[in-house]
Symmetry: C2
Subunit: 381 residues, 2 copies
């Protein structure tokens, strides 16, 4: 038994020339991160000179990164490294909420927010988004959701805002929402998995009490790795020390990312800071791209003008093609792949999301030409 | 602000020729894992062809690894990937125990077992080890600890055995301990962070209901990554599906290691299976090495004969040297490093642990010569 195991070795990734998957655009490694991965690949390599606390390691300079650079970058008091945004959300909910409490969550939230609440034994009251094509989330919606939870005699111990959400790339008015939550003394957790590392995000300016980000989603890191930040009031609860084990933070089980992913996060950080400064160019590219897509007969959903590289399109024309094309609804995936483009889920035609993040105008033109070519090829027949 | 960030890039690891740190010996990457790290480094690379469940991904063959190879390797019904042994212990406790319950834990347990229990809101009743030099853990001790918890009107919902522990490398009689726990209907979690991937471990044969292992500690993987296995009865609770999010396992927050560490675990797996078959050689090396260390005046603690590569030594002679040596108790760290050896914590002289795992006789002879040379050099003065 346990033979023929070579199939688990030497596995190659089969990726297209241009990848427009929103999940993956922000996690492509920088050359610096790639070098860090090789240098620090061995298990527990970051622990060579550890005195017992991951975030206090001086060689490599984890302490300076976690206690200096990251709090400034995120605009928050305290930051720790997590296994990712979802693990950060669970840690915050588990530390700050009591089982049976209510958490108020935007209707566009990522599924992991709901799982984190379910794992922590919390009830979820949703803030519904407005109807298509906007899918907007408002401060008024948070007020109503908190009121609804109160009516059920619930204790609302947290609100979560997905900023932006992973479907439409919408950026709600976070400041107005945090103000509304604070009027009810409810802390706001900002899920910045699709923003931190792409665009400027400052927890303090947005009024976010807790903030999570994802290294592998938006900070050019090899995952899983993320960041969890909080204002002093909440940080001291989230990062409380064990009652029996000296210097060990309970909610983090002592140390979280005791390996290479942390070093890739650090190695990419200068490039990430730099790309965040170039965010206006990314927004400009996204707006130009979506206008061109609309000329081809597809329709952008969500914020207009759009403020993020993640975009959701309705494509009635592609759906019509799928009804007649060979392989049916898989034609788009296949035809795009033939043209060197991947990242739209196999089987989707009528609606899909994509990201333009970090792609040059030249690459984006190739994507547009691919869509145009596909549409044209079926119009002929 | 946020300038001079280049210090986070291009960081080199300063490691000695021979590393005897028990934490790191089992996590050194195979060439196959190193290649996987580079190939799959980008964030979310394993998700290229995912249909919604990490453990069901067919390309790369994660499903075959998680549902085929690993259950057979661990001798258990169901396995999932975790961020490491500690995260596996917490997931098991969080899923299977109620806040306020008792968990019975061996006195040699890793600190993360205590943190996992504390995070899950559980009380801990310890099974004390016997006195020096054995530090043995017995089935009788588990019976007494369970009885003590019952006397406090507690509900004992789990027992944990560290196999082996990370201080002495002791391998208690797991079968006798699981039998004792089962007499009280208490499930046993086996912490195999230092065994799985080094030596043969079969949960079913040992009577372990739940089992955790560490990829970065003992399976030649780039961490953090681990395995969590369970018999059907407990697996269905630990891996229960969300009530609202289709196909998503609550306790794992949907997916855990959505990145390269999983691919390194897979790539090293054939070599790991092979090295587990060579375990008797490792034990032989450890016994020979410890006998030689004792000839130099140091004393092995724990099991005798010793059954594991992790060993704890008392070194009165080195302690005596530290009282007079330049730099005091840091002399040993410095003098070993000068001789190309690292892995004993700076400042330790009177007692320390080390591992011989995966080191050749030639390398082990260099380590012995270093100790001999250091002792001799101070005897002269």
């Amino acid at each position: 038994m346990l033979d023929n195991l070579e199939k688990f070795c030497d596995l190659k990734r089969n990726i297209a020339e241009i990848n427009i998957d929103p999940l993956q655009r922000g996690g492509i490694l920088t050359p610096q991160a790639r070098a860090a991965l090789v240098e620090w690949g061995d298990g527990y390599s970051v622990c060579d000179f550890c005195a017992g606390m991951l975030d206090r390691i001086k060689t490599p300079p984890v302490e300076e990164f976690v206690h200096g650079a990251l709090p400034e970058f995120l605009g928050t008091d305290e930051v720790r490294i997590t296994h990712g945004a979802r693990e950060g959300k669970f840690a915050a909910m588990h530390a700050l909420c009591e089982k049976g409490d209510w958490v108020v969550v935007d209707g566009n939230a990522h599924y992991t927010t709901i799982l984190a609440a379910e794992r922590a034994g919390l009830k979820v009251e949703f803030v519904p988004s407005s109807k298509e094509p906007d899918y907007a989330i408002s401060a008024e919606g948070y007020i109503q959701a908190i009121e609804r939870a109160y009516e059920q005699k619930g204790n609302v111990s947290m609100a979560v805002l997905t900023y932006p959400d992973g479907n439409y790339g919408n950026l709600p008015d976070a400041r107005a929402i945090s103000d509304a939550c604070h009027d009810y003394n409810v802390p706001l957790l900002l899920n910045g998995a699709y923003s931190i590392g792409r665009m400027p995000v400052n927890a303090r300016e947005l009024g976010a009490d807790i903030i999570v980000g994802s290294g592998h989603k938006s900070m050019a890191a090899s995952g899983p790795v993320g960041v969890l930040g909080g204002s002093e009031e909440y940080a001291k609860l989230m990062f409380r020390l064990s009652s029996t084990k000296k210097n060990k933070e309970v909610e983090l089980l002592g140390c979280t990312v005791r390996g290479a992913p942390l070093l890739t996060l650090m190695a990419s950080f200068p490039a990430v800071v730099e790309r965040v400064r170039r965010w206006p160019e990314e927004v400009e590219n996204a707006r130009w791209f979506s206008a061109e897509m609309e000329k081809l007969g597809m329709s952008l959903q969500g914020d207009r003008p759009h403020n993020h590289d993640l975009m959701f399109f309705i494509a009635e024309n592609l759906y019509q093609i799928s009804l007649k094309a060979k392989k049916g609804r898989y034609f788009l995936y296949r035809d795009l792949k033939e043209r060197g483009i991947s990242g739209i889920k196999p089987g989707l035609t009528r609606q899909f999301k994509l990201s333009t993040f970090g792609l040059s105008r030249e690459d984006l033109e190739k994507v547009l030409q691919a869509f145009a070519g596909i549409i044209e090829s079926y119009e002929k027949t």
